[in-house]
Symmetry: C2
Subunit: 337 residues, 2 copies
């Protein structure tokens, strides 16, 4: 029996033109190997852990991070086996952070599937996340690269520090600097890990590593900006949470920042700035932002990030993997807009 | 201002005869460097994280794991700077597991000092523990040894798997095999890490690494057996929890196993085997075990572990560090008995 669904990944691959041929088969086959590496981490461990890991891996996701890892490695002619291991480490780390995030947020569903904390006690959920951190660290160590290990550990520290900063931050702050710092920690840092670590496992110079890190950084920022736009304009049933959820939590993202800049005297926005996120004024504000130019402005900014990311690949090997990375970057912005 | 107290460590050092001279000064100075390395991990991160780390490091503990790490490295002529880094990684990993354990157990005090979860929300406590896992992994990566990283990640997986197994296990099981597996995962695995990883950072052959790992394994088992004995006979105010707390939670440790073997028909023990841990029969049973031969038998067993650990050092370099390791092993059993 196969628990792994690649449906979401297939959608991406179709979008970026990877619908047939050897390359498509290879990427799909390699993503399956990534999932198998992830699943095997619970072998010889407790049966409930095996079940939890199977549940988490089978609930899928788009596998954008492992796909980026594998494509960067493919482009740079990196060691295939170690890249599979790295991609599994990165997706495992990502999944581990989601397990603890969902516990902290009390989220009962993710991608329409019950979260671990919806089924298990808080204690068991904490430990399941911890086990996945351990499994991610094991996989990272199995790349046999100290540079990968260091970047991996640094990235985890950046992500967790970002979450703590967000938790303790005074909400309702309208600040671009604050926003960019937050989305770097939350999302872009993991894309920098995916690209930079893949370069470490490839026979390339430092300048190339820096170029692919820039690609990762820029598409990571774009990825989160688009998520934040979808929070305003997305189909509620598709994103699985109420429209404007961020603002209801006092989280001021890029569309709201653009709106606040264009409407400094908006009374509802004034209340947000004063730390008031509870009331009908938030619903009004969400509707106002949806209809405003802020959405197009934020989308344009995400496209600029993608353009900068794609530019960073200029001068690198031109092969099918690079073409796929360029298309993947564009897909990140266009996926639902 | 100095936040770090070495009082508990000083007690150990006095006990093992390290009360004066260059060697004492060196170990104390090196343990201070370990603490400074730990504290510096929160630099440039959120102020509340810095405060939490300071709180955790200053609440001290005996620092047995870093002392073992440093002494093994000293005995084997390992690289001093990397051993400091390793010792900080190991103590950080140990502390991270305690942060999540205290949250899961709802413990409000540890070593008489408020836990993180007593002061912060569950979410902030989860993230603080996660940050410390990241910091531990960063330190481990800074030893620049892939072998250390692998052992480190493996050990974390063993510890967490052990906790999950204990959480999901049917309690009230009287089984030596089960017990030894549990205390290996809970305690001895970390001593194997401390000794084995210190050997990886030293110019030694595999046979020597294996010998010090055996030392770590055996004194780690002894350490936990003594903890389990103290749960029955310890001074309640000193151990900071009610006498017989393990049995009240359905956790059957070595003294109870010896007692059950000697008194197969004991009615109170029969109820434990049937999964009944709630009632006056547990208090009666705790008193019966305290007064029985089981305590002396378990103590004798801990001493046997220590003897096997000390024997494993036979044939290795005989120097002051080795003498200190032998005394430290004996201290582990004799500390409060």
């Amino acid at each position: 029996m196969r628990y792994v669904s690649l449906t979401d990944t297939q959608k991406i691959m179709e979008h970026i033109g990877l619908t047939e041929g050897v390359f498509f088969d290879l990427l799909q086959e390699r993503l399956r190997r990534v999932e198998d590496r992830m699943l095997s981490q619970a072998n010889s461990h407790h049966l409930d852990l095996q079940a939890a890991l199977k549940h988490l891996v089978s609930s899928g996701g788009k596998r954008v991070r492992p796909a980026v890892t594998l494509l960067i490695g493919e482009m740079l002619d990196g060691d295939d086996d170690r890249l599979i291991t790295l991609a599994a480490a990165i997706e495992m780390l990502h999944t581990a952070t989601l397990v603890h995030d969902d516990l902290i947020d009390g989220a009962l569903l993710r991608r329409g599937i019950p979260t671990i904390n919806a089924q298990w006690s808080p204690g068991a959920t904490v430990l399941t996340g911890d086990f996945m951190f351990a499994a991610a660290a094991k996989l990272a160590a199995e790349t046999d690269s100290v540079a990968v290990m260091r970047l991996f550990a640094d990235t985890l520290a950046v992500i967790v520090n970002g979450e703590i900063t967000q938790m303790f931050a005074s909400h309702g702050v309208v600040s671009r600097e604050n926003y960019y710092r937050r989305i770097y920690a939350k999302t872009a840092s993991m894309f920098v890990l995916a690209t930079g670590a893949a370069a470490y496992l490839s026979p390339v110079e430092e300048a190339t590593t820096e170029a692919v890190r820039t690609y990762g950084y820029q598409i990571g920022l774009a990825f989160q900006v688009v998520d934040d736009i979808l929070d305003f304009v997305g189909d509620q049933s598709a994103i699985g949470k109420p429209v404007g959820g961020d603002l209801h939590q006092g989280l001021v993202t890029l569309p709201a920042i653009y709106y606040a800049e264009a409407h400094p005297d908006d009374a509802d926005m004034q209340r947000v700035l004063q730390g008031d996120f509870d009331g009908a004024h938030i619903d009004r504000l969400v509707q106002a932002i949806r209809k405003s130019d802020a959405i197009a402005q934020a989308t344009q900014e995400a496209r600029s990030f993608v353009d900068r990311g794609v530019q960073a690949l200029d001068g690198l090997q031109d092969n099918r993997a690079r073409q796929a990375l360029i298309q993947l970057a564009h897909y990140i912005v266009e996926r639902n807009l």
